[in-house]
Amino acid sequence: MNLDAAKQTFLEEARELLEDMERILLDVEATDTTDEQLNALFRAMHTIKGSAGLFGMDEIVHFTHEAENVVDLLRSGHLALSEDLSGLLLRCHDHVKAMLAVVDDKATQQEMLQTSLLDELRHYAQPAAVDEPAGSSQASAPEQGGLRDWVMSLRFNEDVLRNGMDPSAFFRYLRLLGEFLVVQPVLCRLPQAERFDPESCYLRFELLFSSDASQQMLLDVFEFVREDSQIHIFPVGEAAAHWPQLIADADEAEQAAVRQAWLALGLDPDATAEPEPAPPAKAADKASDKASEKADKPATGAAEAKPPRASESRFIKVEAAKLDSLINLIGELVIAGAAANLMARRSAQSALVESTIAIANLIEQIRAGTLSMRMVQIGEIFSRFPRVVRDVSKELGKSIQLNVSGADTELDKSMVDKLGDPLMHIVRNAMDHGIESSEARLAAGKPAEGNVWLNAYHESGSVVIEVADDGAGLRKDKILAKAVANGLVPADSVLPDGDIYKLIFEPGFSTAEQVTNISGRGVGMDVVRRSIEQLRGTIDIDSAVGEGTTFRIRLPLTLAIIDGFLVSVGNATFVIPLETVIECIELPPDALQGDAHNCLNLRGEVLPLLGLNRFLELGQPHAKRQNVVVVRYGDSKAGLVVDELLGEFQTVIKPLGNLFRHLRAISGSTILGSGEVALILDVPSLIHFATSQEAERFASHAEHAQQRGGHGNH
């Protein structure tokens, strides 16, 4: 452990505190402030100030001190968190963040103190008029007054011992500053018999002390007891002059005792103002038996302190690669466990089977636990949007309210990192192009304030993130016209709504008549789509003219291990991700009419079927009885026709080699417990295939009925 490491800790800590601060400031705009929130605001500035001081970052101390004053007034109820003030605090947040970014550059930090923010803060802090500047003035160098003799009158309060303050400790500390000449205890207050309370302090001292420390430094030794006790320290020459003041609070008995003590010290309490520097009584008094004092110097303070215990905190930061390799190993463990279980079953020894099942349970728990370590709340990304919405709506002169829900939805950390930018783009787009100006909204009979919703939830093994607005909605005709003009689609195309909307993801597409500097920066929605697809996700758009638009991003939960459902077609084995499986039914004998795809009437619903044997060109003879696995992805369903249902199986996704990257129907491979390789089916693309084939066929039938024409350009 060294100071550099501590500094890193500080920067990390400050970053987290600032994040909290921002989150609260943006949150409280909508709701009432709670004490807890105000406390946390205070703590952010307070803690950063406190720690920055330790590292000598005086500029940050200075700035956070001013901010802390204001937040303290908020906390105590002397100020209310107006919109103006929360705006100011947000800008302070930015400023502190910026200062922390250049923490090693003193000059820049100094410059950064020349900010009007400080004046604004002081304006708020004025009522309280806290004037003491932050800083460590106490650290000033001792005034070199030269070696002097001091009179100390130490009349401790009875409570000092109970408060953990031991008079002898102050004596020990004084020894570091100088030398005791004569110590004269005053014992007159010590009660007799039962009235003596051993936890009260009755000891008082009058003494002569020789030191080159200043009066203030000597008084500071008693800083923790001065308030309740009577501590007086004067140069020997001035002592007599202060006698009346010094003795004012004492009763008669004590006055007499102190007077007696002074006489023993060679001082004359009655020699008013007459400087009579009594030569300090020969230090030959038994009381300062130096030899023994020296011999008795405490043998402590040896530098061999024990090594520090590791600092304990609630979080450990782990390198992502370590976690990845752990997850990989657990994947192997899952496979090995499955193999062991298979062997055990074959051996038909029930005890062995039992124990492999127990192991499998544990592995499952480890697996879930390890995977959850990678999972983070999506709130981590969502939290930056209130700020963006606030700033951008100001910039655009629109009034827009952001509504966040499902921030606690978890997803894989690696995805969180890559989701920020696309989401940001969609949100900016919604604000810029989606939400109309206040006038236009009022004219359309809508409230002047527009809304943007951010929502996240889990649905059948996917994470769904929605960005919705109550703006003008997408104009299909405009989009289509633009697409035609740009040559993206033929002039006479007839496309389903969803496909028209998706045209805005085409490279170089932009419908806004006015390109603002918010979202018209040349980065198009095509980049958004590409980022999402890289995460094995999809993006859909719903829109209604005049009501608004919803972007729906669907992402896989994790990239590493899935619960699979094992099926066989002929002698090949496939894995279907279990979360996509809705149900399994037996294939009615007459359902497949030799064609690879067909439909099934599933309780009144038309279910497109896809015969895997045919579709994957396996060329296997038909099994006598076939089954349909009904799978779902998003809103689409399809039935996959397979031979045998083999049950659930936990499986580790092994990515396919580059050679097979282009395969759309297969998303990966895995190794079964038996050592066999099984391919993992890519359900979204299979469903897409089944439904689009079905739609095409339906369309071609319809066209066939009317006229001969080209296929849809899908």
Binding site: A6, H46, G53, F55, D72, S136, G164, L176
Partner: protein, 122 residues
């Protein structure tokens, strides 16, 4: 044997810096991140002095101090509270709870060290 100091503060970096300074000076140091953790660390071991922040999550310094003062083995242990000059009310509450020693944040390690030395030397 070196004297043991318990430092209770929610800032890990502050604890680290203070710990380095105190250990260099010859004290043993144990740490806690808030009052509740602080109480857990008082598990019968000998502690010669406690340094505690006031404003902390979970359990603040004043509540912590009140608990320490109830504890037979620690009620006379000197406590230095870390505070800001802006919180007079807190200071009053702390004094009522039995905190007599205060060090104003922010401070440089030598300031705290000298405050501690007045109450216990290493």
């Amino acid at each position: 044997m070196a004297k043991t100091i318990l430092i209770v503060d929610d800032s890990a970096s502050l604890r680290q810096v203070v710990k380095i300074a105190l250990m260099d000076a010859g004290y043993d140091v144990i740490e806690a991140g808030n009052g509740q953790e602080g109480l857990q660390k008082l598990d019968g071991r000998k502690i010669h002095l406690i340094v505690s922040d006031v404003n902390m999550p979970v359990m603040d310094g004043i509540t912590f101090l009140k608990n320490v003062k109830q504890h037979a083995s620690y009620k006379f242990t000197p406590v230095i509270m870390l505070t800001t000059e802006t919180s007079d009310e807190k200071k009053k509450a702390g004094q009522q709870a039995g905190a007599k020693a205060w060090v104003v944040k922010p401070f440089q390690p030598p300031i705290l060290l000298s405050a501690i030395s007045k109450l216990i030397l290493p």
